[in-house]
C-alpha cells in the first residue's frame, strides 16, 4: 500500500484506492448502537459507533476506502467529504489493528 495524506493532513499507511477486506481471526459483535471489533492481537476490542459501523458489511469483500465513502455517502445522503473525514480514523484503526487488509 502506498502512503498518502489523509483528509485531515497526517500521513496514513494505506491508500484510499487499495482494496481491503476483513482478515481471519477478527471477532465482531453487532451492538444496538454500533459494532465491536477485536483483532488477533489487541488486548481489548474497539467500538465503532454510528454510521461508520456500516463499513464492516462492506469489507466482507475487497473494497477501497473511496468506494466505501461513496457507498455510505449515497446511503446517508451526506456529502462524500464529510463521510471521508468521519470514516478515515475508523479505517485507519481497522488497518492498524489488522482487522482489514489485502485480500
Amino acid at each position: 500500500m502506498s502512503a498518502g495524506p489523509g483528509p485531515t493532513g497526517p500521513v496514513r499507511s494505506w491508500s484510499p484506492t487499495a482494496a481491503l477486506q476483513r482478515q481471519d481471526r477478527v471477532f465482531t459483535r453487532r451492538l444496538p448502537d454500533g459494532l465491536l471489533v477485536l483483532d488477533p492481537h489487541s488486548p481489548q476490542p474497539i467500538v465503532v459507533t454510528g454510521p461508520a459501523a456500516d463499513v464492516w458489511p462492506l469489507v466482507a469483500a475487497p473494497t477501497t476506502f473511496d468506494d466505501a465513502v461513496r457507498t455510505l455517502a449515497e446511503r446517508y445522503a451526506v456529502d462524500a467529504g464529510i463521510v471521508a473525514a468521519d470514516l478515515e480514523p475508523v479505517w485507519s484503526e481497522l488497518v492498524a489493528r489488522s482487522a482489514i487488509g489485502p485480500p
Binding site: R25, F27, R29, L36, P43, P45, V47
Partner: protein, 383 residues
C-alpha cells in the same frame, strides 16, 4: 403491565426455582428472556418501568446474563425505556459483548492447539448457542468457555490449557478421579478468561449416567473469527440445555431455559430421538421438568408430542431422590456425590468414588466472572 403496578404483580408458578430477585418482577424478567423466542407468549411492559421496578428487573437480568436481550428489546422498540434505562442497558450489553469476543478469540486459539494435540473438541453453551441457535450472536452473552473432550483426552487438554497459561482452580482430588468420575475441571488465566473443561454435562448421578460417546455423535460446526469449530448436535444441545437449566444451580438458569426452547425437537422424529437419549441417560425427569418450566415461565408451546410427554411424565422414586440433590433448597454438592453412587456399577469403582469424594473440592465460585466482564470493556475505545 405498567410501571405503577408491576411491583404488585403475582410471582410465577414454581417461582421458588426462579433466579433470585423480587418475585413481583419475575414475569418481566422471564419476558426479557422469551420475548423473541418462537412459540412463546409473554407480556412486555407498555411504558417505561418506574425506578424501583426497573432496578429489580435490570439487576435480575444482568445476573442471568440477559443484558444483550434487554438491550436489543429496547433498541427494537419492544421494551419502552427512559433514556437513562436505555443507556444502562446499552452499557451493560457492551461489556458483555466485549468479553464475548475476547473469549471467542481464545476459543479459536485453543481449537488450533487442540487440533495440533490430536484432541477432539466440542464447544458447549455460550459461543455455540450464540452462533447456532440465536438469530444473531449479538443476543447471547457468556462469561467463560465450556469445552468438552473425551475422558481419555482430559489430561492432554489440561496440558494444552496449562501451556496457554491456565491454572487449575482445584486440584484433582484423587489420581484418575477426573477421567473416571468428574464433570470436568476449571481453569483460570491471568488474562481475562476462564475455561471449564468438561468430561460430562453434570456432576454426580446425572452426569455419571450420561453415555459419553453419545456426546460426540452428530456434531454441528460453526465459525468464530474464520475458524471452524464443532458443537454438540442439536439433540445433545437440547438435553444439555435442560440439564444446565435445572441442574446447574439451585435456581433455574434462564439463558439455559431459553436454549431449551431454541433447540427443542421440531417434529415427532426429533422428539422420539431426544426422549430415547434422555431415557438412556436416566435424565427424563430433568427434560420433562425443564420443558414444563419453559412452558410455564415463557408461555412456550412445544410440539404436541413433547408437550404431552412432559405434562404426563411421572417421576420415579429415583428421579425424586436424584433431583432433590440438585434442585431447590436441598441442593448440595455432597448430596449430588452421594446419589452419584447409584450411577456407578461395581464395588471397586464405588469404593474409589467414595474415597476420592472424601477429598473432593467445592463447586467453583462465579463472582470473578462478573469482574472479568467489567475488565473487558475497560480499554475499549470509540474511534
Amino acid at each position: 403491565v405498567t410501571g405503577a403496578t408491576v411491583l404488585e404483580g403475582p410471582a410465577l408458578r414454581d417461582g421458588a426455582l426462579f433466579p433470585p430477585g423480587s418475585p413481583a418482577v419475575q414475569p418481566l424478567v422471564a419476558a426479557v428472556f422469551a420475548h423473541d423466542l418462537p412459540g412463546c407468549a409473554v407480556h412486555l411492559p407498555t411504558e417505561p418501568l418506574e425506578p424501583a421496578a426497573w432496578t429489580s428487573v435490570f439487576e435480575s437480568v444482568h445476573a442471568q446474563r440477559g443484558d444483550a436481550l434487554l438491550a436489543w428489546a429496547i433498541h427494537d422498540g419492544h421494551w419502552p425505556a427512559t433514556p437513562a434505562q436505555r443507556q444502562a442497558a446499552l452499557t451493560a450489553n457492551q461489556r458483555n459483548m466485549a468479553l464475548a469476543v475476547l473469549l471467542e478469540r481464545e476459543l479459536a486459539d485453543l481449537a488450533d492447539d487442540a487440533d495440533r494435540a490430536g484432541i477432539d473438541l466440542r464447544v458447549l453453551k455460550g459461543p455455540a448457542s450464540a452462533h447456532l441457535d440465536e438469530l444473531d450472536p449479538a443476543r447471547r452473552s457468556f462469561g467463560d468457555l465450556d469445552l468438552l473432550v473425551r475422558a481419555d483426552d482430559l489430561d492432554a487438554m489440561a496440558r494444552v490449557l496449562e501451556a496457554r497459561g491456565g491454572r487449575r482452580r482445584y486440584a484433582e482430588p484423587h489420581r484418575g478421579f477426573d477421567r473416571r468420575f468428574s464433570k470436568g475441571m476449571s481453569f483460570t488465566f491471568e488474562r481475562n478468561c476462564e475455561v471449564d473443561l468438561h468430561r460430562s454435562l453434570a456432576s454426580g448421578a446425572f452426569g455419571l449416567s450420561i453415555v459419553l460417546d453419545d456426546l460426540f455423535t452428530e456434531p454441528e460446526p460453526f465459525v468464530v473469527g474464520g475458524r471452524r469449530v464443532l458443537a454438540l448436535g442439536r439433540t445433545n444441545r437440547f438435553l444439555h440445555a435442560a440439564y444446565h437449566a435445572l441442574l446447574g444451580a439451585d435456581r433455574v438458569r434462564l439463558n439455559a431455559l431459553r436454549d431449551v426452547v431454541h433447540t427443542a425437537p421440531r417434529d415427532d422424529h426429533e422428539v422420539r430421538r431426544a426422549l430415547a437419549r434422555a431415557r438412556r441417560w436416566h435424565g427424563e425427569a430433568v427434560v420433562a421438568r425443564a420443558t414444563r418450566l419453559a412452558c410455564t415461565w415463557f408461555g412456550w408451546t412445544p410440539t404436541t408430542v413433547l408437550d404431552a410427554w412432559a405434562g404426563g411424565y411421572v417421576t420415579t422414586a429415583r428421579d425424586r431422590r436424584w433431583m432433590a440433590a440438585y434442585v431447590g433448597g436441598g441442593r448440595s454438592y455432597a448430596g449430588q456425590m452421594l446419589v452419584g453412587l447409584e450411577a456407578i456399577p461395581g464395588v471397586r469403582d464405588r469404593v474409589a468414588y467414595v474415597t476420592a469424594n472424601a477429598r473432593s473440592p467445592r463447586p467453583a465460585p462465579v463472582a470473578e466472572r462478573w469482574k472479568r466482564g467489567i475488565r473487558a470493556l475497560h480499554h475499549a475505545v470509540a474511534p
